[in-house]
Assembly symmetry: C2
Homo-oligomer: 303 residues x 2
């Protein structure tokens, strides 16, 4: 990688995984880190996360060739404003947010002349969060979408090389298309999972104990997704409003069609729908994007 | 187990797993099997599934102490009518359907005097189906719900012992409560997953290739569920109409509330909702109903 000094602003799952992945490359890189709460900074120091944990974001970005904004999408603008006067001329600033239009609009105006802002979105994560949840392999064979907008080509190419060195594949995408694709493959699935878990919890005639006890029948997959970081997801929905509401509209339209089929006893419609969706799963397996082991391999099979 | 001869009617994932699990017990039990299509019967013979694969259901149930109806819920009544005259007096008939009210109403009337019908629902499965998808461990530590209705106590207790010998835990449940609980933990999650996958596939501005490529961000979990057997799920929704429509109504109500929060920028409502749903996940992990490994353990972590 071409960066000698990297600053991680925010020390959650993504930033901490980036740190361990950078160290795994064996490259000589000095990584500073900053987190908003003293507790997170203390934890980072205790577990050896970052070569140096700084008390302020301004301090962390001093002399950095690459500054990574790894805070919730709603906090990106504030952080950009804070660090802007302290950025090294010619450095690259990037982010790891799940929404790109709002981040580019929030961060861009604060960037000084000569500093390159290149937005990025590593599509990787787990349901865990915080500085202790990171691990070096998080990005292996996952996609990192690069949304350069009108950023400098050399700075963009260097960021792509960086992400590939952490194990990710990269692909460039136009900003609004990014936000739409992510609404489909990530944001709405999360919203639906949150909703389903909320419904189950709220139903007086079925106890939480029963919901938990019998969750293996499908429900528990939703609870994993719905255990993701609340702040991050709140910000995603607030900042990707347009695409989210569009896909949500399509979703309820389809759901109502299936509901009508159930109500009227239209088995053919249900059967055709359920047959068709199998194809998509097949495509995902063929593309190597998931395991074909039954139940994600959770069941131990000897045969 | 107290059954010497068991007949499996239908040779899909559940029945084939039951066969391998019965053999794993080491008990001396003779298992006959029947499947509707010649192709499935041939496959069963080829892979040694069942001690004897019969050409008709009537033949398969001859002399059986336990007859297991392992066909889609919508086919239970027809199968019951076919086998009824051939059942051994005093035998037990059970099923493995995901809906209980409709199965009991479809099967019950055909049962001859002296034959015990005890409905059951092993809450286990994978996204795979067919005679080759079964394995002995499928029921280990999973729940099998027993819905005896007014069935004979000795016959019910014997069936419970049988399921425990296959690795399952058993619990008795009242029929309508069963159908409601399953609508929450299984049927509606499946319907929602099917819908989400359908929406993604149908969106012209986001290609299937993109959906597949970037599915790891949440969407792929839905595709696994939506790859389940279409015939089975069509029948579930057609036969558990009342509970399905009730839970679906609750679901859309909640979804609309979250949609409104997104539209109006009400971050507090979203944050509170997303925080609360984390608790349910915690309960499932504490109850040992899922792995706490990040991303279901799909990611290999060395640390």
């Amino acid at each position: 990688m071409s960066y000698r000094r990297v600053a991680l602003i925010g020390l959650g799952l993504i930033a901490s995984s980036m740190y361990w992945a950078m160290k795994r490359t064996g490259a000589e890189v000095h990584v500073t880190g900053y987190a908003r709460t003293a507790e997170t900074r203390e934890t980072a120091r205790r577990i050896g996360l970052c070569d140096e944990v700084c008390e302020t974001a301004e301090e962390a970005v001093q002399g950095a060739d690459l500054v990574v904004l790894a805070v919730p999408v709603g906090a990106m603008g504030r952080v950009a404003e804070t660090i802007a006067p302290h950025l090294k001329p010619g450095c690259t600033v990037t982010d790891v947010g799940s929404v790109k239009r709002s981040v580019m609009e929030a961060v861009g105006p604060f960037m000084p002349e000569g500093v390159h802002f290149v937005a990025a979105h590593p599509m990787a994560g787990t349901e865990h969060s915080g500085p202790e949840s990171g691990f070096a392999q998080l990005f292996d064979n996952r996609w990192c979408l690069i949304v350069p907008g009108d950023a400098d080509e050399a700075a963009t190419a260097a960021l792509e090389t960086f992400w590939r060195s952490l194990g990710a594949n990269t692909e460039r995408m136009e900003v609004d298309h990014h936000d739409l694709v992510c609404a489909v493959v990530s944001h709405i699935p999360h919203l639906i999972a949150y909703t389903m878990v909320g419904v189950a919890d709220d139903l007086a005639r079925v106890s939480d104990q029963e919901v938990i006890k019998f969750s293996a029948a499908g429900f528990r997959d939703f609870t994993r997704i719905a255990a993701s970081d609340p702040t991050m997801w709140r910000d995603v929905f607030l900042t990707n409003k347009q695409a989210t509401l569009e896909i949500l509209g399509r979703f309820t339209e389809e759901l109502f069609a299936l509901q009508r089929a159930i109500r009227t006893g239209d088995g053919d419609t249900l059967f055709e729908y359920f047959t068709h969706t199998r194809e998509i799963r097949r495509g995902i397996l063929q593309a190597g994007q998931d395991t074909s082991a039954p139940d994600f391999g959770r069941i131990k099979v000897d045969k």
